[in-house]
Every structure is written in structure tokens, then in C-alpha cells.
């Protein structure tokens, strides 16, 4: 397929409105295979404005007289308006954007064409291989081993090739357990909490169905987890569905672990919203934030009605529950919902941030995302970022990365020149050769020039667990994201700059700069 077939027009004269705080840009508008370009001429600043077409979420067109208007709603929550000369030109440009922004094919997406100066292909993909983390745990504990049972993705298409499982369980047993779990997502280790010798596991729901089926190997796997942790160790299964929903899942072949079948494990239900209700909550919040009526009197009840902050609260509380189980009770934790791909990851990754100081470093956080987040384009990843932002607000010194990092991850997860967030699983990524044909986001973000935006200059390594307050009074709307395009960020940028100034003064003149060696090691 040629992009040129989808591009209906060469160029047109247009004016771009980027929101209340920014001056309009006027110039020549042009659509390319991956971008929308506006060139205001050489004297103007900026002299070129670029938008990745993948970031267009929806497009509206209107024509009147001999001109037209295109409104673009972007995935990064921006709303852009283009006033274009000529009715034909407007319609052609709109059609081109529509066609190009909705291309399904992964391998024609921009990351496969993006070749920035100074970066070598394949460079940063090895920064955070999950295998390295797993190998370390296998070495440290002797109770866990790296299994290559999923080498050809036959056990579970959505797991990576290498997974970490109890040493006592062989690959055949894993295969049986995989058949007993939805999508083949058998229980694997997500995090080893060394101070208490306990582990955090994740999986999908067991396929017990109406007949209340059991699987000896699956039961053996979880028994082995407790046995390896400590004689007499207990475990909690945090089910992210309500007891009712878990029971109902049996009708469609799913279900939950029967008490009698898994001695030592206790089930807790902590329902978290996912899928459609979460999406709707997000859309309502976006509408409220984008409402041009500035002096809304009912803003707070509207914000309340969106329920987004309740989702933040629920996610953080459930993560706290899992973390407390490990830290305070010395228990092992298994987290799953139904598929084990959305709210499950939310809980396991937040629990790690709460407990593990390493995951709060720049490199550790990148590694965490590589390991836990294989899904994207769902508001659940945004919910995760929002929760991390709340952690950072409550513990301003404990995260090595700042709000800039979270915003960058949000933007790149929706539309990016980098390949890191492409595809839905390791299997697809291998098929598309993402690792050899696109650049890793980390190689882009870890460039020195980006660091000032992304790092938290106040960071001091904090060896303790960080227990967030989840009272509604302690949770805030993430203005930096949700009101990013309606309110100038200037004052906070000035403050940020000041922070850096002081921090760098201290570092360059300081006698022993102990920068916590967080650059990724090859």
C-alpha cells in the first residue's frame, strides 16, 4: 500500500488555533504519510508545526462559503482547530487525515520509519529485559527458576518468552496450569519482596466453569509458592472483581479459586472498574475539563460525578492492601481479575512502587513498565500514571522521575515515534520485529537533553515503603495532565526551572555529587 493513495491533496493555506493561551499559527498546511505539517514561513517561530497523525482521535469538519474548519481531538487531550481556505481543500485534507490516522497496520506506522540522528537501531531495547530481573531473583532465592516453556508463545501468547515460576514446578505442570487459566496466563512472579521473603504473583482467572473444575498442577504451583516462601506461610488472592461477579464468571467458563482446593490461600474481593465504565469515566472527565465555560459553578460535583478520582482511590487502596499483605503479614499475594491484563497490572505495579525503592528510580520505573505493562491505549494505563502522580505528590522526594516523565509516557503510549508501546503482546512484537526495526522509547527519553524535563531534582533515595493516603481529601485532580491545554503551565514551569537551578548549583559545586547511578547500564 502506498501512502500517496490516501493523500488527497497537496497543500492548502490554513490558520491553526491551539487553545486560548497560544497565538494562532498561519501558514501552509500539508499532509504526509504520518504527519500533519503547518509551515508558517521561515521568519516565524516555530517555523514548522508537526502533528503525528496517529495522535488524532476524532475529526470534525465544517464548511461555510469558500472556507472550511477542521476540529481535531487528539489522544493527548488537545483540541486543535484548523481554518482552511477552500472547500475542496478542507474536505480533501479531512479525508486524508481520517484515512491515515485510522490505519490499522503496525508495520506501516511511523516508528518503522523514524530514524533520528544520534540514535542507533536496536540500541536501548536491551536496557530493561525482564529476563535480567527474573534471573536475579532466581539467583537470590533459589526457590524460583526462569522457564522457557513459553519460548514459542504456545502456553500463553500474551506472556513474554521467559517467565519466572517456582523451582519445584516443571514445564509440563506449567502447560497444564496454563490450560486452566484464561488466555493461558498461569500464575507467574511479578515481584519478590526481599525484606520479608514474600512474593507478588499475577495470573488470570481459573477456568473452573459451572462444573467447578480443578487443576492439580495449578494447585501444586500455588502450594509450592507458599512452601518456598516459609513453612506455614499464608497467601492472599486479591480478586479485582466483586464476589458476585467472580461467581457469575463461572457461567461463562471462568471462576475463582475454591477454598478447599488451595489450602493456605485466602480470597479477598476488591472490585476495580475496568473496560467500559472506566472509559466512560475518563470521557466524562475529559468533557468536564474541556468545557470552555470557565466559571462553572457546579465544577466540584461534576468532578465528583465523573468518578475518576474514586477509581484512583480504589486502585491505590487495593495496591496498598497487596503491599501490606507482603510487608506486614509476610504473606504471598496473587492478583487477578478476569483476563489478568488490566486492573491486575495496575495493582501489581502500584504495589511495587509502594514497596520497592528500586522501582522508584528512573531506570527501575522504566523496567517496571517494560515488565508489567504490555497493554496500552486503554485508560487503565492513564489510571496507573495518575496513581503514580498521586504517589509523587504525596512523597515529593521519593520518586526519581517527575511529572514530565509521566506526561511523556502518557503521550507516547497513545502516539509515538518510538516502538516501545506498539502491539499488544510480546508475540506480536516479535512478529513485527519491533525490536530491530524501531527505536525504543527509552533510547529517546534517556538522552541527556531530555533528562531535565523528566527527572525529579529533589529525589533522595528512600529505602522505606511509601504508604499513600487514599482519603479523598488527599487525592487531587492531576491538573498538569487534565488541564494541560486549557491552562498555561508557565508558573509551574518557572518553579521547576528554579528547582533545577538550585539543585544543579548544588551538584556542580558540591564536593561529592552522589548521583544515584541510575543511568541504564548496558
Amino acid at each position: 500500500m502506498e501512502f500517496s493513495e490516501l493523500i488527497r491533496t497537496g497543500q492548502a493555506q490554513a490558520e491553526l488555533l491551539r487553545g486560548p493561551e497560544m497565538p494562532p499559527l498561519r501558514g501552509t498546511l500539508c499532509v504526509t504519510g504520518h504527519h500533519l505539517l503547518l509551515s508558517p514561513g521561515p521568519q516565524a517561530t516555530p517555523d514548522l508545526w508537526l502533528l503525528l497523525l496517529r495522535s488524532v482521535d476524532s475529526i470534525e469538519k465544517r464548511v461555510a462559503g469558500d472556507a472550511g474548519t477542521i476540529t481535531l481531538r487528539c489522544k493527548d487531550l488537545r483540541v486543535l482547530q484548523l481554518d482552511i481556505e477552500g472547500v475542496e481543500a478542507t474536505l480533501d485534507i479531512a479525508r486524508s487525515i481520517e484515512a491515515l490516522s485510522s490505519l490499522e497496520s503496525v508495520i506501516t506506522s511511523f516508528p518503522f520509519f523514524y530514524r533520528p540522528k544520534g540514535l542507533r537501531l536496536g540500541e536501548a531495547w536491551h536496557f530493561h529485559p525482564p529476563e535480567r530481573y527474573y534471573k536475579r531473583i532466581a539467583r537470590e532465592t533459589r526457590a524460583w527458576r526462569l522457564s522457557e516453556a513459553n519460548e514459542d508463545f504456545s502456553l500463553c501468547p500474551s506472556y513474554p518468552r521467559a517467565v519466572i515460576v517456582p523451582r519445584a514446578v516443571d514445564d509440563d505442570a506449567l502447560a497444564r496450569s496454563a490450560r486452566f487459566r484464561q488466555g493461558g496466563r498461569f500464575p507467574v512472579l511479578s515481584y519478590y519482596h526481599a525484606p520479608r521473603g514474600t512474593v507478588l504473583l499475577r495470573s488470570s482467572q481459573p477456568l473452573t466453569g459451572r462444573q467447578k473444575l480443578r487443576c492439580a498442577e495449578d494447585e501444586e504451583l500455588l502450594r509450592a509458592v507458599l512452601a518456598e516462601a516459609r513453612p506455614g506461610a499464608r497467601g492472599f488472592i486479591v480478586d479485582t472483581r466483586s464476589a458476585q461477579a467472580a461467581k457469575q464468571a463461572r457461567m461463562t467458563g471462568g471462576g475463582t479459586e475454591a477454598k478447599a482446593a488451595y489450602p493456605g490461600w485466602k480470597r479477598l474481593h476488591r472490585p476495580l472498574e475496568r473496560g467500559r465504565p472506566l472509559q466512560e469515566s475518563f470521557v466524562r472527565l475529559m468533557e468536564a475539563c474541556g468545557d470552555p465555560e470557565q466559571s462553572m459553578d457546579r465544577w466540584l460535583s461534576r468532578l465528583d460525578g465523573c468518578r475518576w478520582l474514586s477509581h484512583v482511590k480504589e486502585a491505590l487502596s487495593t495496591a496498598c492492601l497487596a503491599a501490606q499483605g507482603m510487608e506486614w503479614e509476610g504473606a504471598c499475594i496473587l492478583v487477578h481479575g478476569a483476563e489478568g491484563t488490566d486492573s491486575t497490572l495496575l495493582v501489581t505495579s502500584l504495589a511495587q512502587l509502594i514497596l520497592d525503592p528500586l522501582s522508584r528510580t528512573m531506570a527501575g520505573f522504566q523496567e517496571l513498565i517494560e515488565r508489567e505493562w504490555i497493554q496500552h491505549e486503554a485508560p487503565i494505563f492513564l489510571l496507573f500514571l495518575d496513581c503514580v502522580w498521586q504517589l509523587g505528590r504525596q512523597f515529593p522526594l521519593s520518586l526519581e522521575f517527575g511529572e514530565g516523565m509521566l506526561l511523556a509516557l502518557f503521550d507516547h503510549s497513545y502516539a509515538s515515534p518510538f516502538g516501545t508501546f506498539l502491539c499488544n503482546s510480546e508475540k506480536e512484537r516479535c512478529l513485527c520485529e519491533v525490536r530491530t526495526r524501531t527505536h525504543s522509547l527509552w533510547s529517546g527519553l534517556n538522552q541527556p537533553k531530555e533528562q531535565r524535563k523528566l527527572r525529579n531534582p529533589l529525589y533522595v533515595p528512600n529505602p522505606l515503603a511509601i504508604w499513600p493516603s487514599v482519603e479523598p481529601q488527599s487525592l487531587r485532580l492531576w491538573q498538569g495532565l487534565f488541564l494541560r491545554w486549557t491552562h498555561p503551565p508557565e508558573p509551574s514551569e518557572v518553579a521547576w526551572e528554579k528547582v533545577w537551578q538550585i539543585a544543579t548549583d548544588q551538584k556542580t559545586e558540591g564536593s561529592q555529587p552522589t548521583d544515584s547511578a541510575s543511568e541504564p547500564q548496558p
Partner: protein, 553 residues
């Protein structure tokens, strides 16, 4: 090197005082150590009580009452709880339970405070211990009703800095006319009360002429702008009681705008609702909707919006402005002082802010005594209202939106509010200057600014970047206003963050380090500059003066 610091003529440090006191107390040393005391503070009584903590349940403790504070220390081994409450914050003391009360801890005292909390103590039913405590507390918390002096007149604290010297009206007016003059376009902000128009539409030639003269001082535009802080209907209604507003016929060179800010009673009720949803337990479900139903943030929004209009009129509209409400000391003070903060960066410094409070609030007759009720037992007085608190909240909102624009930090605003009630300092006592002069407040009491200015570092905002001519317009949209959790919900331990102000703490360290390095750098440069006197003979040799730098990192 800089000249040697001149030694203070009379440097009575706090430490000296406390040493003197303990040796004088002699036998009471153990109690003296258990109980912090200010010079001039005397212990009245102590009692064993059960403090009914709304967050952690009943705690056995010993309560000490002095003529300044109520101090409670836990007697339980697993609790380090300490309560330290100036009696000035007490608004009401009630007895709970009677002689026949049976339930556990149901007999005792319930104390309502002006700073968003209540304290409950359970006492034994035998031996009149409740009656004693009730009477002593009542006497010292409400001294005015018992012909006792307010504690500020007994306080013998000494500070290195005299806070009463901060504000010198003559000097300030050499800088500024009332209240503020724009440095370039020479437009002014003035304040007054409502005109006494009444139902018959009275006029006053002199008043009309006076406003016309104000208008003429600014040559650029021929209209004067009058902001009436009240909602339009209230202004009309005020005609019935002899007040009113400037009519077009009488003041034809003036434009009149109403700013829709409600009166002191509405504000008092609104804050009461805030307390209802945050103390002792915070409203969990539908928190934001409950917050909205208090209307507190909406009132904040209206006050800020009004101040923005005043500031903008002066700055961009190039028109002189007169601001008034009914009396001219509540909403007017809020509007003029906030407008001045927006227009003039000087008032955003620590001293500038102190002067602003001194000038626009204290000097211009905001009725602090009536609004706060210092030492007065009439808790239901309709004159009480959190107008000054509301102003400080607006300042906090601005400081949130412009993190680099203010020299002071949140702690500075909170300490001002704490001592608004505490009666430890004379700063906020009395309703007006004449009463203060009669009581010789500046001679007989200590100023709050003495405490703050002797300890300025604690109150500095590390982000502060001095900018001279920057006008700040905060966004007064509901979306950008938030509840000041660190003030209104500060008693709830579950809302607290990991440590007190970790960012600031870290910043102060960084700043201190930076200052050290800059100093050291200067000294090194001096040392390296050629042909300087032989360092070994010079007494102020840089190498000897090298400060010891601690590395925290």
C-alpha cells in the same frame, strides 16, 4: 571582608529566660520541664483526664492549664501524644453528661475551638474536678468577662527584632497614597464605606466633589470606577437602613460595578459547613459534592474575581478605582489588599505582606476584636466571621498558582492564622487604631512580626524569585481552586504526609548549601586575587574563615 557584626545592645535570648525560670521555680522543676512556658506565663492547675481523641480513641493524660495555654501530655506508655492549645483559640466550653451519666467517658468537657477542631475531655464524676476545670478554663479563655487582662499584656517574651517597627504609616504613605498608586500610570486604589443615601436619595456635594478630585488626579481617562463589593440586591436593600450606593445622577463621572460578594454572616455559615465535613471525620463518599455544598470555594472565587477586576482596572484599564462595601472594613479590605498583592510585588515579600496586613487590615479598622472575639465568651456573637481567614486562603490560592512569586511559605500563613486567635501577641487585638492607642498596645504587648522576623528562614519560600514589575492574575476558576487541606484538615493524622513539608525541608538544605558554596567561592576568588596582603598575617584570612560545609548527600 564584610565588617564584623555589631553586638546587640540588649540580647536577652529565649534560652537565658528559660534557665532563669527553671532555677526560680526550684521545686517545680519536673513540672516545669513537662510544660513549656513563655516568660510571663503562669501555671494555674493540672489534672488527670481522659482525652477523647477523635482519631485514636480515649487516651489517659495529664492536662496543665496556664494563663495562656492548655497542655496535655499522654500518661500512656504507647502514646507520645501532646496537645498544646493556646486558650485564645477556645470559642466555647460545654459540659457534657450529668451526675447520672453511665456510659464510659460520657462525663466531661467539650471545647469548641476557633481553628477547626473540638477537644473532649472525660473526667471523674467525683470531687468537683470538672467544675474546677470548667471554671478555670472559662476564666482564662474568656478573660474579658472576668476583668482579667488578655495574655498579650502579660507576655514578657523578648525578640531580637521589634515587629512594631515594621510598619511606619508615614513612611508607607511616602511610598503609597491610600491604598495604592500605580507607579507608571498614576491611577490609584482608594477605599471607603457605602454612601449614606437612604430611601430619599440624599446627596452630598463634598463627597461628590472629593471623588471627582480623585478622578482628576489621573489624567488618562475621564471616568472613575467604583466597585461595590456587595451583590446588587443587598446594596439596594441597604438603602432602607440609610445606606446605599452612588447614583448615576450624583456621580456622573463615575461607573459603578457590583462584585456579588456575600456578607459576614454568609461566610461564617459557609465555614461552619466546611468544619462539619472535615472534623472530626472527613466526609468520604461524595467528598467533592459535599465540599461544593459548603460554597466556601465559591466565595473564595468571588473574592478573587473581584480583586482581579480591581487590579485589572488599575493596571490595564488605567482608571482610578474606589472600593467599598457596607462598612468598608471587611470585603473592602479583602479586595484592596488582594489587588495590591496582585499589582505590587513588594507586598509579596515577608515584610511587604506584614505591612499590607498592618495597613489594609489593622490600621484601616477591620474589626478583629468583633470578628474573632478575643477573650470574649459570647461564642454566638453575630459579629464573628472568618473574613481575615478567607483573605489568607485567597493568598494561599495565589501562592499555589504562582509558586515562585511569594517570599513566604505556607507555614507563614498558618502561623499568622494561629496567632490571629492565640492572644499571645498584640498584633490583632482590638477593633481600631484608637482603641489600640488607648491601650498602648505597641508599648505593652509584643508584635507577631517580632516572632516571625526573628526567625525568618523558617517562613521563607525556597522557590521565591524576586520580580519587580510583575502583575499576577490568578485563575479564579473553580477548576483551579482547591481546599487548603493543610490548614482546614490539619488535625486529622490520616491526611498528613510522610513528614512535615519534605520539599521545603530539602530545599532549605539545598539553599543553605548553595549559600555556603557561593560564600566559599567568593572567598576563594578573594584568596586567588593577586597581590593581596599576606594571608598568614591578615586576621580575616579567607582560609581561616572557610566555613565548614556539611554534605548531606
Amino acid at each position: 571582608m564584610a565588617s564584623a557584626p555589631t553586638s546587640k545592645y540588649n540580647s536577652h535570648s529565649l534560652e537565658n529566660e528559660s534557665i532563669k525560670r527553671t532555677s526560680r521555680d526550684g521545686v517545680n522543676r519536673d513540672i516545669g520541664e513537662a510544660l513549656p512556658r513563655l516568660p510571663g506565663e503562669t501555671r494555674i492547675t493540672d489534672k488527670e483526664v481522659i482525652y477523647i481523641c477523635p482519631f485514636n480513641g480515649p487516651i489517659k493524660g495529664r492536662v496543665y492549664i496556664t494563663n495562656y495555654r492548655l497542655y496535655l501530655r499522654s500518661l500512656e506508655t504507647d502514646s507520645a501524644l501532646i496537645l498544646d492549645v493556646p486558650l485564645g483559640v477556645i470559642s466555647r466550653i460545654e459540659k457534657m453528661g450529668g451526675a447520672t451519666s453511665r456510659g464510659e467517658n460520657s462525663y466531661g468537657l467539650d471545647i469548641t475551638c476557633k481553628d477547626m477542631r473540638n477537644l473532649r475531655f472525660a473526667l471523674k464524676q467525683e470531687g468537683h474536678s470538672r467544675r474546677d476545670m470548667f471554671e478555670i478554663l472559662t476564666r482564662y479563655a474568656f478573660p474579658l468577662a472576668h476583668s482579667l487582662p488578655i495574655f498579650a499584656f502579660l507576655n514578657e517574651e523578648k525578640f531580637d527584632v521589634d515587629g512594631w517597627m515594621v510598619y511606619n504609616p508615614v513612611e508607607e504613605y511616602r511610598r503609597q497614597v491610600l491604598s495604592w498608586i500605580h507607579p507608571e500610570n498614576k491611577t490609584v486604589i482608594m477605599r471607603c464605606s457605602q454612601p449614606l443615601v437612604g430611601m430619599s436619595g440624599k446627596r452630598n456635594k463634598d463627597d461628590e466633589k472629593y471623588l471627582d478630585v480623585i478622578r482628576e488626579t489621573n489624567r488618562q481617562i475621564n471616568k472613575l470606577t467604583i466597585y461595590d463589593a456587595r451583590p446588587n440586591v443587598n446594596a439596594v436593600a441597604n438603602k432602607a437602613t440609610g445606606g446605599g450606593y452612588e447614583s448615576d445622577d450624583a456621580y456622573h463621572n463615575a461607573e459603578l460595578f457590583f462584585l456579588d460578594i456575600h456578607n459576614i454572616h454568609v461566610m461564617r455559615e459557609s465555614l461552619k459547613k466546611v468544619k462539619d465535613i472535615v472534623y472530626p471525620n472527613v466526609e468520604e463518599s461524595h467528598w467533592l459534592s459535599s465540599l461544593e455544598s459548603t460554597h466556601w470555594l465559591e466565595h473564595i472565587k468571588l473574592v478573587l474575581t473581584g480583586a482581579i477586576q480591581v487590579a485589572d482596572r488599575v493596571s490595564s484599564g488605567k482608571s482610578s478605582v474606589v472600593v467599598h462595601c457596607s462598612d468598608g472594613w471587611d470585603r473592602t479590605a479583602q479586595l484592596t489588599s488582594l489587588a495590591m498583592l496582585m499589582l505590587d510585588s513588594y507586598y509579596r515579600s515577608i515584610e511587604g505582606f506584614e505591612i499590607l496586613v498592618q495597613k489594609e487590615w489593622i490600621s484601616f479598622g477591620h474589626k478583629f476584636a468583633s470578628r474573632i472575639g478575643h477573650g470574649d465568651k459570647n461564642h454566638a456573637d453575630a459579629d464573628r466571621s472568618p473574613i481575615f481567614l478567607q483573605f489568607v486562603d485567597c493568598v494561599w490560592q495565589m501562592s499555589k498558582q504562582f509558586p515562585t512569586a511569594f517570599e513566604f511559605n505556607e507555614r507563614f500563613l498558618i502561623i499568622i492564622l494561629d496567632h490571629l486567635y492565640s492572644c499571645r501577641f498584640g498584633t490583632f487585638l482590638y477593633n481600631c487604631e484608637s482603641a489600640r492607642e488607648k491601650q498602648k498596645v505597641t508599648e505593652r504587648t509584643v508584635s507577631l512580626w517580632s516572632l516571625i522576623n526573628s526567625n525568618k528562614d523558617k517562613f521563607k519560600n525556597p522557590f521565591y524569585t524576586k520580580e519587580i514589575n510583575r502583575v499576577l492574575y490568578p485563575v479564579a476558576s473553580m477548576r483551579h481552586l482547591e481546599l487548603w487541606v493543610n490548614y482546614y484538615i490539619r488535625w486529622n493524622p490520616r491526611i498528613k504526609q510522610q513528614q512535615p513539608n519534605p520539599v521545603e525541608q530539602r530545599y532549605m538544605e539545598l539553599l543553605a548549601l548553595r549559600d555556603e558554596y557561593i560564600k566559599r567561592l567568593e572567598e576563594l576568588q578573594l584568596a586567588n586575587s593577586p597581590k593581596l596582603s599576606d594571608p598568614s598575617t591578615s586576621p580575616s584570612s579567607p582560609s581561616q574563615m572557610m566555613p565548614h560545609v556539611q554534605t548531606h548527600f
